[in-house]
């Protein structure tokens, strides 16, 4: 059988100056894209704001005051006004970033993991497994994403966990489809054939030769879903399917302030503006990554 003669003492491989790899090129191209860098900085700022909300926020986001309900922007002590229960809008917006970011990133991340596994397996192994998987994916494609999210959330009932679950289920099919299509392309490449010809098993080939070439495009696609996920999650809260009061969450704030548009319209519109800014920053960042990583489509 395989006869191997390993020389016992440790072998020192002289290191060589590595060529600047793929990621160095990506970083160099990304740095040149001013819009994407700007969007990235905004995203970073929002993330920091969410992490350090307790230190940044000037007031307790849940402390209400019946006397100071619906104050306009610029009220002393309430830089962005006060909401329908007299709570400081600025503090609530800062704290609201936590849940909004969480609901934007976490479902997409979980879906990225599951969708990639499903899609890469379907693409690599092909055949009946591929047909069955992709037909199931097609069924989910028959629902516009908003409808699917609301259907699942509506059936499961309100709550963060249920929203998280529904959004994850919404994003698995599209990620699996992208993963399947890029994997099918890579599987046909001669280097995969060459790896098979060297006697490697499927798992080794996937690990060494497939993942490195498909995860990039799948990842870029997944980042473009973060803004969709945020908007959908806030939308679910807006319908009363997400988190419950008094938790500060941008979609829920928008919901409870809806009736206030006749009194303090611009205060009422603030949470939506926060969603908008975050979502557009994620989209621009994703576009920048796409061109820096040279992903087609």
């Amino acid at each position: 059988m395989t006869a191997i003669t390993e020389s016992a003492p440790a072998i020192v491989v002289p290191p060589l100056a590595k060529s600047p790899g793929y990621w160095a090129g990506v970083f160099r191209r990304f740095k040149k894209d001013k819009v994407a860098v700007g969007a990235g900085l905004v995203v970073l700022a929002i993330i920091l704001m969410a992490i350090f909300a307790d230190y940044i926020a000037p007031a307790d986001p849940t402390r209400s005051s019946m006397l100071r309900r619906l104050r306009p922007i610029g009220t002393p002590g309430y830089p962005l006004g006060a909401d329908e229960l007299g709570r400081d809008m600025l503090s609530r917006l800062i704290h609201g970033a936590r849940l909004s970011l969480f609901m934007g990133v976490v479902p997409v991340f979980i879906a990225f993991v599951f969708g990639s596994v499903i899609g890469v397996a379907a693409g690599f192994f092909g055949g009946k497994f591929n047909t069955i998987t992709m037909r199931t994916v097609d069924v989910f494609y028959a629902f516009p994403s908003v409808l699917l999210a609301i259907a699942l959330s509506g059936a499961l009932g309100a709550g963060i966990t249920n929203s998280l679950l529904s959004l994850t289920i919404v994003f698995i099919p599209p990620i699996a489809r992208i993963a399947e299509s890029v994997t099918t392309q890579v599987r046909g490449m001669d280097y995969v054939e060459a790896a098979r010809a060297s006697g490697a098993n499927a798992l080794t080939i996937i690990r060494v030769h497939v993942l490195g070439n498909v995860l990039g495009p799948i990842f870029v696609y997944a980042t473009s879903l973060i803004s969709v996920s945020m908007i959908l999650a806030s939308g679910l809260s807006f319908l009363g399917l997400g988190t419950k009061p008094p938790t500060p969450e941008w979609g829920l704030m928008l919901n409870t302030l809806r009736t206030a548009i006749y009194v303090q319209p611009w205060v009422a519109a603030l949470p939506g503006a926060a969603i908008f800014i975050t979502s557009i920053s994620f989209n621009l960042l994703s576009d920048g990554l796409r061109s820096a990583m040279d992903v087609k489509g």
């Binding site: 028959a142 516009p144 319908l239 548009i261 519109a269 939506g272 908008f276 557009i280």
Partner: protein, 317 residues
């Protein structure tokens, strides 16, 4: 062409079956006994058993699915718990209303999207192009329910030009085609049009840029055709794809209108769904989603077939 048609229809059948299965299971993934959703809270044990029989919940799941599917195919989607009326009737009325604003929104989105996309594609790299590209990003990034609120704030609260919500004095039952009623459609339709506008603009821009790069365009110019001639050729070549995207977008809007309808209290499917969720009216939820999804599936096939008719290359895929 016939074989293409047959292939498309054969392909969609398993999808339609899967969609029905999903909608059927929606009631069963809901936490708790599906019966609790149709029971009055103070129901006696005897009444529970009685209702369990009537609804067929005592039978095995596949049998239940079969029976449910048979009924659905005959147009019977069950009875709403909240109103006691047949779900099908409620859904159909709501679908009509949704189609009204979704259709208007698609038309607005298509016209503006084509305009911006065409300008951007024709003057690639110019400021107009950058502006149109930015608009496309804005279109997909904006939370449209918030945009609806801003619209109400600006045009109803501040300017007082248009009504903030509802479907007119008589509601949707007494709809008449006059300004008084149509004015209620304008804000929701414009809000909704932002979604397809960005996507259509992006598609048309890519199409126009692509066509202008093809060899026949300089050839046309060489033949002495003026810009209008080139324009006509671009339109002729870009139209099938642009129309296909428009068709698909109408489908997305049918499902995506839920939040916007809630903002404007427009009595469409979204509003119906909102109520169903609020009252945990699961048969109504199930029926509405089934109809909307089937609409979407049907629209997809229709678009595919139309595209096949317009462009023989599509048929070979």
């Amino acid at each position: 062409m016939l074989s293409y048609l047959a292939k498309r229809i054969l392909y969609v059948l398993p999808v339609a079956f899967g969609v029905s299965l999903f909608c059927f299971l929606l009631v069963h993934i809901a936490p708790g006994d599906p019966l609790t959703s149709v029971l009055p809270p103070d129901a006696s044990q005897a009444m529970q058993d009685e209702l369990r029989k009537i609804y067929g919940f005592d039978r095995p799941l596949p049998v239940q699915f079969g029976l449910w599917l048979m009924k659905a195919l005959q147009g019977d989607l069950g009875t709403s718990i909240a109103t006691g009326r047949p779900v099908a009737a409620e859904v159909w009325r709501a679908v009509g209303n949704t189609l009204l604003i979704a259709g208007l929104a698609t038309v607005i989105g298509f016209l503006f999207g084509c305009f911006f996309g065409f300008v951007a594609g024709y003057f690639r790299g110019s400021y107009l192009d950058k502006f149109a590209s930015m608009l496309a990003v804005l279109g997909v990034s904006v939370p449209h329910y918030w945009l609806g609120m801003v619209m109400v704030i600006v045009f109803s609260v501040q300017l007082g030009w248009l009504p903030p919500g509802g479907a007119g004095p008589g509601g949707s039952a007494a709809w008449i085609w006059n300004w008084e009623h149509v004015s209620y459609m304008i804000l929701p339709a414009i809000t909704m049009s932002v979604i397809p506008m960005g996507i259509i603009a992006r598609t048309v821009r890519a199409l126009v840029a692509d066509i202008l790069n093809q060899e026949f365009v300089p050839a046309l110019r060489a033949k002495g055709l003026m810009d209008f001639g080139v324009f006509r050729h671009v339109v002729k070549n870009a139209a099938p794809t642009a129309l296909a995207v428009m068709g698909l977008q109408l489908g997305y809007l049918l499902g995506g209108s839920i939040l916007i309808e809630t903002v404007f209290s427009w009595p469409g499917t979204g509003f119906l769904l909102g109520n169903a969720i609020f009252q945990r009216d699961l048969p109504l939820l199930q029926g509405t989603i089934l109809v909307l999804a089937m609409f979407f599936v049907g629209l997809n096939v229709l678009v595919d077939i139309l595209q096949g008719l317009l462009d023989p290359r599509v048929r070979r895929r």
